[in-house]
Symmetry: C2
Subunit: 196 residues, 2 copies
């Protein structure tokens, strides 16, 4: 077995009074990590979450293999969080969660994420978002083409995607048993629609 | 322009007396990062280096966007360092450098890297190593199939790849002007050989 980074994660001690933006959507991300581990173990796909980019400033290095980082900062990522290979396709996506009640705000998607997904799409990769709506408790895959249409509309009009719209153009992902969020089914359907 | 992580890297302060394993091969890696930036800017490919996985233990969080990591450790990666998309292909590789004089020691390739490249290859991705030989100052792309043959031989015999062998089965990458290590030429040749 390889050393899978998410398995032995020690919970960081964070001094703060309210929930940080970083922690929103963590539960849903965990389900995606769980699915990826399942896909890897069953040899269905090779999809990993990228490590968070860290700017290391100071390292204490008493001897080899004992390095302790004493000062570091979070950096802005330049890509999405997940990528890999499935059925010979390059897969690239980000995971979003909203507690909004009727529409998904487009401001949840960062500029660098859009730019990256656009590039991937242009080079023939499979680019999408996995969106979890907390309140109706529904999950959708939103393909890049559909996302782009909503972004175009947002230039002059509505800056969000209505749940009703998401249900129409997204691929629904039902919660199951193992893995709980078996999102590759939706990816297969999306690839099929793209290529036929 | 997106925020490309390697651009504004502050050099970490490391207290140590001798060169760490981590820093060996840094110069060659920088040339690969430079090539990736070039490919990204010219829209030739979307290939990124993954951030180093860090185990964060303690974060000082006075207010949002001011988080300072006070204690963290390096983790063992579970994949290779580079992946992305080129000509619709999923690309996955690691970068190696040796100052040995006649052969490349296979112990330079870690078990998790071999396992990962093998998976990628099985799923139809383009998996390889970029090997820089410091002393003759030559660079080669070694495709996964050829690497696997050397690994098989190593089970009973020689645990290294002779430079003479590498010159025969590898794809030579000559140092040029912009980018200095234009490795995608070798990737194209490798893909062509795989698919014809």
């Amino acid at each position: 077995m390889i050393n899978y980074p998410t398995k032995k994660r020690i919970k960081p001690i964070i001094n703060k009074t309210k929930n940080s933006v970083k922690n929103r959507g963590m539960r849903f991300e965990k389900l995606i990590d769980e699915a990826n581990r399942f896909y890897l173990d069953r040899d269905i796909a090779v999809i990993h979450k990228k490590p968070v980019p860290i700017q290391i400033v100071k390292v204490h290095y008493p001897k080899r293999a004992l390095a302790r980082i004493d000062e570091a900062y979070y950096k802005t990522p330049s890509t999405t969080d997940y990528n890999g290979i499935y059925q010979q396709h390059y897969i690239d996506f980000d995971v979003k969660e909203t507690s909004a009640k009727t529409s998904f705000p487009l401001k949840n998607i960062h500029t660098h994420q859009i730019a990256h997904l656009k590039r991937v799409h242009r080079h023939g990769g499979v680019a999408f978002l996995l969106i979890h709506l907390k309140h109706p408790d529904e999950t959708y895959l939103l393909g890049f083409e559909a996302l782009q249409n909503f972004l175009k509309r947002a230039e002059k009009g509505r800056k969000s995607i209505r749940f009703l719209e998401l249900r129409k153009v997204g691929y629904s992902i039902k919660e199951g048993f193992q893995p709980r969020i078996d999102y590759l089914k939706a990816v297969s359907a999306y690839i099929k629609d793209k290529t036929t």
